[in-house]
Amino acid sequence: MSLTSIAENPKPGSTIFSPELAARFDKLVTLYPRRRSALIPMLLYAQDEIGYVSDAAIAEIGQRLDITVLDVRNVLTYYSMLRTKPVGKYNVQVCTNISCMLRGGQEILAHCKDRLGIGHKETTPDGLFSLEEVECIGACSWAPAVQVNYDFHEELTPESMDALLDEYRSKASQ
């Protein structure tokens, strides 16, 4: 879809989101002194539901906020947590910033690469795991730290990292 395309925008009133999320958005846009303030939360919640921020999501969010698709994309590309392509069911984010680096964060990352057979920002063929090297996640005193989707895991070792991956694997097969 072209950046400024309007023709492909959904019809007013129709939604690509679940009824729950659509209702949440209806409320969110009224919360702030200006509608546009709801943009970043909406992008995050859309990503949580769809797995990434799709073109259709961008179009609908733009319409809900009365801003252009270009405006939405402009903001979307600034924030590192927002993505426009799907990732694995579990996005393993390994911090290698200074406090984690001093406690083996880079080894945890290398270990994950090895165990999952993928590199930075790649996804396993079964779609279960993605791997990402990230900047400080605010868990420095409990380093090395990893975030899987939104869940924090602290003070990891290669062994406990293995156990953690196994845990997610079995969670997925349930």
């Binding site: 200006r34 903001v75 406090s99 001093l102 605010g138 869940d151 602290e154």
Partner: protein, 435 residues
């Protein structure tokens, strides 16, 4: 769940409810919660600001600006609505204290936010958490809903004729958004590009209205200050640096963790006694005293009190309270590289000295660390960093340049050790320590 630590030297003020179930509003009330705000309603804005000034509380976000004074800058009369904005973006590497506040004591943030609103005449507060803290937003949202249910938020709070609303949200991954003006941009649904100042946020801030922006720890300190009295709070700390601070000790300490210690507490003691010394009895090589942007200190420089003035006198900064301990196995070139990598990644790209400067520093240090360094590179790194200082649109450029300059100045020998095609001479040593 982040591990809680304790030490007899701690003075628990902000952390006194940690681990005590205070996310529950009734429990929070039992532990002296929502007392300060009732008193604040009764006694009014002048009293609040006088107590805050007496407390000598200085902003815990990094710059250490006196909070009472900041609040007093907000004009009394304003055509546009005024706002309180709680900065919970916490992204400075080495810093994880606001994490614990949101996790264990969300109502203290709410209470402080309401008091700030009463002090400056704002009717709306925003609590902005970094995007990675989604699970903490859930806790914060529940706390806010409970406060509304009790009539502590909304119309006529605590049966008074004041109204106060709080809206909380997260960002979506961006260090720069912790910078106050970029934070306002983000909250307005835009890219986190900083704004030019003046006008300062206290005069023209969020949606053009006067805005008080404070760090989450600053805000969480407010109710304790009013409860014990500003002067009593000031007395806990050192000269012109009131109260306590959450110090996030990380890296090669034997017992890393977040410890609440009086302002002015000796750094050497903090490392060797509170945090149990350097892991495995190794030698200390360096300390980053206040988050990744603060210039590194040598072991001979750490016999200092940890407050804004004393650390400043020692040539560094108290910053965000992230104390990073480095032992003898660390390669300082690698450490400098990892630090600049972060700033390069987080530079918003708005101004050239920061965007290009961080990129060149990263490229040079990468080549250098890999063994491709030349003698002139060492001076180039320093020259480049020095020329970024004070020439950028927001302080992120300085935050990248200052530590780089200190690494080169204080560890020049290690940079020289990397020359002549020698890739990191410390790599072997590190492998040994990780085995």
């Amino acid at each position: 769940m982040p591990r809680l630590v304790s030490h007899p030297d701690e003075v628990k003020v902000v952390s006194r409810r940690f681990g005590r179930g205070a996310t529950n509003i009734d429990r929070y009330i039992e532990l002296d919660g929502y007392k300060a705000v009732r008193q604040a309603i009764e006694k009014g804005p002048e009293w609040i600001i006088a107590e805050m000034k007496a407390s000598n509380l200085r902003g815990r976000g990094g710059a250490g600006f006196p909070t009472g004074m900041k609040w007093s800058f907000v004009p009394k009369q304003s055509e546009k609505p005024k706002y309180v904005l709680v900065n919970g973006d916490e992204s400075e590497p080495g810093t994880c204290k606001d994490h614990l506040i949101f996790l264990h004591d969300p109502h203290a943030v709410i209470e402080g936010c309401i008091v700030a609103g009463l002090a400056v005449g704002a009717k709306t507060g925003f609590i902005y958490l970094r995007g990675e803290y989604r699970y903490l937003l859930t806790i914060m949202e529940k706390a806010i809903a409970d406060a509304y249910a009790k009539g502590f938020l909304g119309k006529g709070i605590f049966g008074s004729n004041f109204d106060f609303e709080i809206i909380s949200q997260t960002g979506a991954g961006a260090y720069e958004v912790g910078e106050e003006s970029a934070l306002m941009e983000s909250l307005e649904g835009k890219r986190g590009i900083p704004r030019i100042r003046p006008p300062f946020p206290a005069v023209v801030g969020l949606y053009g209205g006067p805005t008080v922006i404070n760090n989450a720890e600053t805000i969480a300190s407010v109710s304790h200050i009013l409860n014990m009295g500003g002067e009593a709070y000031a007395k806990i700390g050192s000269n012109r640096n009131g109260g306590t601070r959450l110090f996030c000790i990380s890296g090669h300490a034997e017992r890393p963790g977040v410890y609440e210690l009086p302002m002015g507490y000796n750094l050497k003691k903090m490392i060797y006694e509170v945090a149990g010394g350097v892991r495995g009895g190794r030698q200390l090589k360096a300390v980053v005293p206040g988050g990744s942007s603060t210039p590194v200190l040598l072991p001979s420089e750490i016999d200092i009190g940890m407050d804004f003035d004393q650390v400043g006198k020692a040539g560094s900064m108290l910053g965000s309270g992230g104390v990073v301990v480095l032992d003898e196995t660390v390669c300082m070139v690698e450490f400098a590289l990892r630090t600049i990598q972060f700033y390069q990644h987080e530079s918003c790209g708005w101004c050239i000295p920061c965007r290009e400067g961080t990129d060149w520093l990263k490229k040079t240090l990468t080549r250098f660390h890999a063994g491709g360094g030349e003698a002139k590179d060492i001076d180039h790194i320093q020259y480049l960093a020095e020329n970024m200082l004070g020439r950028t649109f927001c302080p992120l450029g300085d935050a990248a340049a200052m530590p780089t300059i200190a690494f080169v100045k204080k560890f020049r020998q290690e940079f020289e050790d990397h020359l002549n095609g020698k890739p990191c001479p410390y790599a072997k040593q590190q492998e040994l320590t990780l085995a």
